[in-house]
Amino acid sequence: MANFFLDNNHLKFHLEHPLMKKITLLKEKHFEDFGKYDDAPEDHEDALDNYEKVLEVIGEIAGDTIAPNAEEVDATGAKVVDDRVVYAPGTEENINKIRQANLFGLSLPRRYAGLNFPIVPYVMSAEIISRADAGFANIWGLQDCAETVHEFADEQLKEDVLPRFNRDGITAAMDLTEPDAGSDLQAIQMKAHWDEDKKTWLLNGVKRFITNGDADVSLVLARSEEGTTDGRGLSLFLYEKNEGKMIVRRVENKLGIKGSPTCELVFKDAPARLIGDRKLGLIKYVMSLMNSARLGVGAQSVGIADAAYREALDYAREREQFGKPIIQFPAVYEMLSEMEMKTIAIRSLLYETSRYVDVYKAYHFISEDRKLEKDERQEMKKYQRLADVFTPLTKLISSEYANQVAYDSLQVHGGSGYMKDYPIERLYRDARITNIYEGTTQLQVVAAIRGVSNGAYRKAMTEFAEETLRPEQEYLKKLLEKMTAQYDKAVRKVREQEDDEYWNFHARRLVEMAGNILTGHLLLLDARRDSSYDQPTAKFILKARSENVKHYSYITYVGMREANDFKKS
């Protein structure tokens, strides 16, 4: 009888963030659905109450079904039988419960049978499910594909496909990578050609490392423009499993998230429907899909970190050595405190980014109905810019922290943690994928460094610094100001060499410095609303300060010449 929503006050805290008022108003378009749909909210308070009620259901399924199934699912894994994926029995049960509760298609509008959830409560659901079983969170979270169809497909396709997410609980997959196109999606070879007789697009080729590849519907990135070799020749297609023209050749044997099948797929003359316009597949649609997938990995990371921290805390309280519980030893409680602080920090970052995405996406959908006013357009742009630079930052920091927290949690368990007897070994393995897929940490740096070079992070720091805080928070704010000045110096130092490779060499350090400062500001704002965040905020900012000093001194020591010495061939 566990409820992963009700036992976590942080979630309710973020759900009640002041910006949520704007978000519910925009997302519900001034609550125009009320009276038209019985499940539509009447006002902001009613909307928040709806989110809470549904999150409570998700929390219950996560606590009572998904989490207890996680060990069996990890041990059994998914298999291929007769070219089809067979889930672990626990996974089947999880999916069934999610279907019975109508929890697919959460974010779709009500006219497509969805619940019209904003990103914030949707991401919260993802965090809750990830805490129970990060692998299952993938299968559940791929309902994101519906969002891409909703955003870009024509009305006919939307009406055909979207209502089935909630009504029938169909599952989805995004088929992007291939044996020779992983991080570099421009190299995709999967072919799509228009068959004049059959009046359909046909797909031919192989996809590899596809999460939940045998789903009911798949979004497939394929080369529709013959003779092209780059991303501009790629379009996005929707393939339905019941066409029977795609087989699963194998399921990878992975280190972690074993319940989530990672498939190699073979398409042979597989009929598919075009999503949106030709040639925009990679450069527009997949970029958008990837951004929400990155937020999904952020949620997954927070969920894993939370689970790992809780395991360590329980263990440290129970385990006695030298005549007392090990939690009483400084070496152990420091680790635990840091794990807690890191989890709180990445959660703040995750929901801040989610709010940015919520505001600009809501404006985007409003703009389909009517022309936006000038100030609305400006606001949309502002939040879109913030979302663009905060998304890679969130993915980067949260996934790295999730790994650190899982690592420390296993350490707190000592030798027992290395055994299969405790959940931490699974969490440790599951965490390891978060900083790899949906763009490795190194690729997040490539995206995030733009926020350093175009001044977007710096601007956000200035704006946060203008907030009035409680007097007792001022010393921490002062520290952040010092850190900002140091960040400016670091950026200047690297930039004045006017060398791209040198810039890229220090890129991660610059991004992390910015991330530390911004997260510090976010935590101060959280603590302004609720003083129980004072302690973790102070811990975080002190730690962040020392990290940034370290990065800064490294940048000072490692100039162009020293950086050159690192080169390998």
Binding site: G35, D39, K53, V54, V57, Q100, L103
Partner: protein
Amino acid sequence: MSFRILVLVKQVPDTRNVGENAMKADGTVNRAALPAIFNPEDMNALEMALKVKDERDDAQVIVLTMGPSRAADVIRESLYRGADKGYLITDRKFAGSDTLATSYTLAAAARKLMPFNLLIAGRQAIDGDTAQVGPQVAEKLNLPQVTYAEELQDVSGASVIVKRRLDRGVETVKVDTPVVLTVHSSAEPCRPRNAKRLLSFKHARTVTELQNEVKDYTSLYNDRPYLEIEEWTADNLKVDDEWLGLSGSPTKVKKIENVVFKQKDSVQITGADEDLDKLMKDLVDSHVIG
């Protein structure tokens, strides 16, 4: 004609988390000291009914509970999970009912909801553990009963096939409808709340609850009359007041004792196979397991 299923549910104190004040001096349960929950086996009963609804488009699930005003919670929980309609049987006159008075009252309410095809209840409630109410209702309605039901296997015709979970095995019976079933905890657990139904029914209230609401529900209830949970008092039922509540309840608690388990003797065994075999054999022989 639709296929009507009545489900009897009960709000019970959560006796699984018993604290110091769980019992009153007179030996009755101190309901105020324990959180109120949906009786677990009634959840199994509800699931059995909802499964029929999954299979038959014409099935209608009606939930019936007897209790104080707050027992409307279990009706709402049932609506969130798929029940079509709920009735709360409530009256001060029902207070202090034992199983005889309870089944008398529930049977009167069920009679008012006739005709129905199935009446399903949990085997027993965790506050009294009597397992008497379901069977007594069946007797009063003069209907056949199948107790310890685990699975309904065929609901397509004028009779149903029911699998019963008994101590020493499984019995499968065929019985004509209408019939009363009481459901065992080994039956399928109840499905979760459905997000859409939860949001649609979250304002479902009884008339009494509406009177205590600060918010004005008039226009909402005009638009969505299905939100009303019907409330029946003794006056709505054809009952004799003598048979209700305390006066209709011959059962009196004579004495209450605290049972403390004590260790009597102990046996040390090693991890050797033969010792483990012997232990298993002893446990099976003494009916601790198996």
